[in-house]
Amino acid sequence: MVFVVYFAPHERERNHMTFGQLIKDLRIRKELTLRRCSADLGIDPSNWSKMERGVTPPPKDTGIIQQWAKFFGLSGSEGENFTDLAAIARKEIPMDMASDATVIAALPVFFRAVRGQELEGEKLKQFIEDLRAVHSPDK
């Protein structure tokens, strides 16, 4: 039996975070679940999740980025770092979910099939396409 201990990043580690890691850390610091945070910011939770995971870049609109910085209580150098990381993230190439290897790595291992419905054949193919969408930038 295994027990897992989860640690919050140390303050200095935040300086080496990606934008996605940073917004996740800031959200957790505010004790907000993903759904609560995205509801407060008026964003679709799937989009916010994709930004946290580095799948979708942050918006180009600097006004929105500054609004988020304010929401998280960032000012001065912290606010600048937030804006800079957002700019860097916009230039990064999103994870390539076109390859099967990446999709396969994201397949859930314990998939509870109910009502006798198993994940196989056409259903598995459909699931993989849906999974690809969950891990791909919005079109």
Binding site: M1, D100, E120, K123, V134
Partner: protein
Amino acid sequence: MSEKTDVWTAVEKFRAQFSTELAKCPVDVLTTIEIRMRLDVIPFPNLLRTYSVDAAVMPDFSGIYVDKRSYQYLEGVPQWQFNRLRFSLAHELGHIIMHRELVKDVQFKSLQDFWDWTRRYKESKYGLEWEANEFGGRLVVPRERLKVDFDAFVSGVKSDYPEWWMNASLREEIASHLGDKYGVHKDVVSCRFDREELWPIS
């Protein structure tokens, strides 16, 4: 497969680790997962409608896929759907806590690999699913609290119904009432009556 007491030990150690959220009633599974454990909750459109599943854990245990609608509109979906999601997340926590070792070296090189794994997993599936269900059930319906509620129920009915344990309607009624309290389906509570050996065998 573990004995149920092994699963219970795992649940109570876990509860002690995240005591603030897990002492609430209903148990706050989402805050535990997202804030305390820092796991990703990944909204998955139509997971429930298309695959009849409302949560599934990622292979590296870094996150849990959740049915987007159930998750996004927690306050808007019917109570049963919210309750179902709560139990499903507790079930997935069971996999994370108890079965992590089992899959730590699993890397699928191809879809065939994944398919072979699911076939092999299926052989022990019922054992693993049983453990995850037992974990989830005990997590969301804590034994100590249930015992207090159950004793109060017995005190309230035993004079009018001397053989209360034979009465299926009474069982249904109290399971439903406590299901509302614990934020789970009445069948989960009913199952706990038996698993925790509270309801006498008639």
